[in-house]
Amino acid sequence: MIDKSLNWLDDRLGFAKGGRSFLDKIFPDHWSFMLGEIALYSFVVLLGTGVFLSFFYVPSAHEIVYHGSYVPLRGQHVSEAYGSTVGLSFDVRSGLLMRQAHHWAADIFLGAIAVHMARVFFTGAFRKPREFNWIVGVLMLILGILNGFLGYSLPDDLVSGTGIRIAYSITESVPVVGSYLAFFLFGGNFPGSGVIIPRFFIIHVLIIPAILVGLLAAHLGLLVKQKHTQFAGRGKTEKNVVGSPMFPTFIAKTTGFLFMSTGVIFLLGGFAQINAIWQFGQYEPYQISYAVQPDWYMGWLDGAARIMPSWEWVGWGHTIPLEVFLPAAVFPGLIFAILMAWPFIESVHTKDHEYHNLLDRPRDRPKRTAAGAAMLTLLFGVFFASSTDVMANFFQLPLMDVLWFFRFFVPLAPFVAYFLTYKICNEMREAEGIGKRKHALVVERSAEGEYTTTESPVRPGDEHVELDAIPVPTFIDTSDPELATAAGVRRVIR
């Protein structure tokens, strides 16, 4: 029956030729390869929940009177965007779950991308021939951050409205063309002619997702074409891939992982309140709330804006707001440029232009690892600087002291991190027996008081010896009825 259907399909699609080797495609088994899958699956949740939300959300700044079921807001003048977001949270069944799952999925999506990217960086998986895929990944990160910002701006609540105001001011800060850019984008001086919410909406639900889907296809297509990297190990070389086949093992594991990721996201969406816009209220340009932080992936930019000294440049009848333009535009631009260029920076520096399919251990590449640690220190530094006010309150310190601490910490700590990481990597490399499996030693004292040391026998359950890898058999002989029905009874072979 299945044979017949497959043949019918192959008559029309001709997939069997290449399809078999696709089913035999080998996926290396390593936990760190799941990080990208988390990003992929939270993107799936984002698309699904996002479609649901778009059926109820109204992208309009038009003022209405709220009549929904949330009592404290009744009778208040709100924008349709805000009113419909509160409405889909309280008056649409499952709406709040979908909205909160959408928000959590976005935070997890970007977190997974960041961690996945760190894995790729520290293991050198971006090296030839995978430079393009690294760049595609960085582009998805940039678009993901941008779309996250646009998405949480849509409800038109007090917190997100403040974020839009800041985005306006950053646009305005671009030398020469800034005020033109801001006017074109917003349709005039802030808050503009009511066009920004519908514009953000169409960029958020159509333009960026379409580009992301395209980039994702390229990311996965290149992954299949170039095959996976793998860590060095038994039987693993630059010329092969060892692991589980696409079908059925990997498909089963990854499908299960899809369900688990979505399960966790929906649990968070139901139990961990996120972005309670009904508490913030409708955005009004003259209102503000205290101790408000943006979503985590915007924190580094907010922190950079906070610790920047007030260096406005004024001259020849013009103003360049460097105190805004440098931290909010030049700084992220530089970071992303360095990230994109890294594979080439490194290969120029190491003069290494070979193919690399085996991954590095981070300690074996002290300079790269140290550079990565420095970058992470810098980004975490500005990230924590985005909560100077909260820290000052929490630690009962003067706000100015906290700010001055970060003004020194952010530029200096990366150098310390580089130096320490470099040292630690080198010390680890020189340590004896590192990377080797350790065996317990038994120390015995004889009756005469003499000590002897012997290696312990293998502990029970520890005698597992991995088999040598074989190519996926072209054909499994299922003709022996006894073996076929007893499938799954473990043969004792080791």
């Binding site: 078999r20 105001r165 020469v176 010329k239 498909i251 688990m260 360049i320």
Partner: protein, 321 residues
Amino acid sequence: MSDHTSGTGGPPATLDDPHLQPLAKNPKRMEALAALSMLVGMAGFVGFIVVYWVDASNEWEALTLGVGMLGLGVGVIAWGKYLMPQGPFVEERHDFHSTDDERSAFNAAVTGRGGLEVTRRKTLLGIFAVGGGLMTLALLIPGVRSLGPKPAKSEDNQGPTDVSLFTTNWKKGSKLVTVGGRPVQVDDLEVGGVLTVFPQGFEGSSPDQVILIRLAQLGPNDPPYPIAAPGRTEWGVQGYVAYSKLCTHLGCPVGLYQEKTQQLVCPCHQSIFDVNAGCIPQFGPAPRPLPQLPITVDPTGQMRANGSFDQAVGPGFWERP
């Protein structure tokens, strides 16, 4: 059957090949566990439908859905990890790049065939390139320019506030009103009190927002303001001062007034302005003082603007002198 052996994979195997054995020590038990997990998952989904039917809370929906997905997920993963052929299997990598012959054939097509056309028809190519560029430019103009109005050029251009970064709606004589439109009287605020005010008719407008502070209890015959910024002795009245509420850093409302230290603090990026010294920035990223609005009191006790701001309000931009 012989067809099966001529694939891309390795030699055929029999079912007792160790690579085809499951990883589980006790596959029967693992199979039962995986089944149990998936059954729990199924129960979760059924639960979700019930929960939705009776319109229970979001927490119940999340719990049932989460249990459903996790149960199903754990079961499938257990199946894949412990019950499917444990391998390991290997796949050879073939040379990723093309052979030298394939490359030179491809390159010859590009440089030869294509190059010939390029060298033969330089003029055509040039015209085509310029034409393509012009098309892009032509399409970009409406794509950008139609989006919004052009910003008014300078302070001389007294455009309305929605197209000018330089102007506000404050004029000499504008009544100070609250966001609800209530006119502000001179005895409305206690010492230490603050109020967000707008010019009458522009309540809630972003560029016009002004923070009115009562710093001292002073009568009509007292000096207007105990500690005035140089050159602005007459800008306050009866202990009141008024400043633009738009932070000069990124345009957030400077909404926190600390009476004890006489400071205005912006909650967004913690810029601090010294109210006693003309709201100059004391700390943080804000580069400029908050512009001050001259105010006065008319004979009926109504507070009014005594002019407009002497500069553009809000964050900096290129055209700002």
